[in-house]
Amino acid sequence: MKWYEIISRIDRRIIYLLLTFFVVLPFFIPLTIPQNIMPQTQKLFDFIEAIPQDDKVVLISFDYTPQTMPECRPMAIALLKHCFARNLPVIGVSYDPQGPGLAVEAFATVVDELNAHAVTREDSLVYGEDYVYLGWKSGRIAALLEMGENIKGVYPRDHFRNAVDSFPLMQRVNNYKQVAIAIVLAAADYPLDWIRYPQTRYGVKVGTGLTAVMAPKYYPFVQTGQVSGMMSGMKGAAEYEKLILDKGYAKELGTAETGMNSQSMIHILIIVFIILGNIGYFFARRKKSES
């Protein structure tokens, strides 16, 4: 076989083998592929940076699913690290039935990591004082509207069946007036309900973390200012991880960065294969027309 026939007909098993190698490589050899920060990610980061401490809380709605964990979980982790590093209390809610398990896992991951390095009790994160997870609620729109009047009326008990009134954090948070921003992490159109209802009626600031497929739909909202910032896909998560690392809020990059390294390697590999295939195709066509 001629060389151009070989490169235009590479066995797919070789492609799969190389793909596997390059996906796994960044997990063993740390690569530092510099990330460019998209404006919408920077906007969200800057918003949280500007929230005054000892004033308001950050509300995070965990609405992603196990299928979208690779994209959305790193966003949740990075956001929580950012908020806790700035001493901003966090209240978690969920409106997707699959959200609670993932929310509890995200909180546990970040809290355990930060508490492992805590020296005094003041350094530690305490449930009920620094963060609360209220859990899942059905009747999403009614719940979103009612929280504008009284959050404790919607969630008399948290996800773990504790009385919400008993938490020091919840004693000073009554409704959206005490919420600096509501950030929705989702793979479906949940952010649209936050914009339509709580934001329109109560002026709540809304931020989002969405899968890459969903993100283009919300660019107009970022442009009009209805969304105060957005992370889109694993790239958005990787950008946010870099931002908090540069600011000293994290000691190392998270899983999104490693995922993006793998993704970048694969993109390059696919581009190389396509180029090789086309070179082989053109030479074969030229030989055929000559003969």
């Binding site: 504008g148 009047e149 009626r201 109560y202 002026g203 497929v213």
Partner: protein
């Protein structure tokens, strides 16, 4: 001092009016008001309600400053209510005059959907016109759709090779229009298969689609005079799990090596998994879906792809029945009218005439 206090006190909103919420099932009243002259100082507007002429009232809810509307969705249709809107700032409250009395009631016809009714009537008229044309014997031209023109070739290929034909009717349930269109095409394809005597495999994700598909194939064989050729095993139920279904279809493709694969219906992320497996076995593949995001994968992996509405035209194209062809014509003219309306509204928007609300479906 009194003057200072007077200047500092906050003014209430004015002209509070209440009316029944239109186009609903009752139990809702809309309250509107003009902003307080001191709106910038207002923290929020509190909405209060009383049964008409009653002395006691209750607090309903609140909105932030700058907002001039509120919906009370908890009314009793047998009672009449009045509303007052209160400016609130630093514990200072300023009540507006009570509104007119309003009562909620259920509506029979949704006036916000008149534009949909008009569109249906226009489309119905077009359909009626072209059906009349078809019945009068007029020849209706339809352009060649390569994917559908290849169906005969696809079925013939499988017969010559002595291998089965795989027909995947998508992963949507029977309520998806694409699935219904797929069932229509399955009927036509099954009739050709009955003539050519090739084995057929129709895997299904949903139980209702399985039962409909089985009847469609059985009737198709019967209508071609080959009821004995129908095999119960042709139409199979696999699983409702998305990737379980994809794995099972992959297994069928790799084990039974069909010569021809049809992927017609509604698909999601599993589309490329099945199409690429078929491509690797060298099968001839025709795909058709209305899932726009999956079209690129099918275009890449299949020999022919029916894009969007070509899927819905397939049944008419394959059967060549005049009545069905006439509906295609009506469809095309409907699109032309929609295009004209869109262009017209775009021009009006440039001229700053905003009539987009006419297109809104409430």
């Amino acid at each position: 001092m009194i003057l200072i206090l007077f200047l500092l006190s906050i003014a209430p909103p004015t002209d509070v009016r209440a009316y029944d919420k239109p186009n609903d099932a009752g139990s809702a009243i809309i309250i509107e008001w003009n902003l307080s002259p001191d709106d910038v100082r207002v923290e929020n507007y509190i909405i209060c309600r009383r049964v008409a002429q009653d002395t006691t009232y209750e607090r309903l809810g609140s909105t932030m400053h700058g907002v001039t509307e509120f919906e009370d969705d908890n009314t009793d249709d047998s009672k009449t209510y009045q509303y007052s809107v209160v400016s609130s700032s630093n514990s200072e409250l300023s009540f507006s005059e009570w509104s007119n009395a309003a009562r909620s009631y259920p509506h029979v016809f949704h006036t916000g959907r008149i534009n949909v009714l008009v569109a249906i009537v226009i489309f119905g008229v077009l359909l009626g016109y072209f059906i009349t044309q078809a019945r009068s014997g007029k020849e209706l031209f339809i352009r060649k759709i390569p994917g559908l023109a290849a169906v005969d070739e696809a079925v013939g290929r499988a017969t010559e090779m002595g291998k089965p034909i795989l027909y995947v009717p998508g992963l949507g349930d029977i309520d998806w229009t694409a699935t219904i269109a797929s069932m229509n095409i399955l009927g036509e394809v099954a009739r050709k298969i009955a003539l050519y005597d090739a084995p057929l495999i129709v895997p299904n994700r949903w139980s209702v689609v399985y039962t409909v598909g089985k009847e469609v194939v059985k009737e198709a064989f019967t209508s071609e005079g080959r009821p004995d050729k129908f095999n119960e095993d042709y139409v199979r139920y696999l699983t409702e799990a998305q990737f379980g279904f994809a794995a099972a279809v992959n297994g069928i493709i790799l084990r039974e090596k069909p010569a021809t694969n049809f992927f017609i219906g509604r698909f999601w992320a599993e589309s490329l998994i099945m199409a690429e497996t078929g491509a690797q076995t060298g099968a001839f593949q025709i795909a058709g879906t209305d899932s726009v995001l999956q079209l690129p994968f099918f275009v890449t992996a299949c020999d022919y792809t029916l894009i969007g509405e070509e899927l819905y035209a397939a049944s008419a194209y394959l059967s060549r029945e005049p009545l069905l062809l006439s509906s295609l014509k009506a469809q095309d003219y409907g699109k032309l009218i929609a295009l004209a309306i869109l262009l017209g509204f775009t021009v009006l928007s440039f001229l700053r005439v905003n009539v987009l609300s006419l297109l809104e479906v409430q």
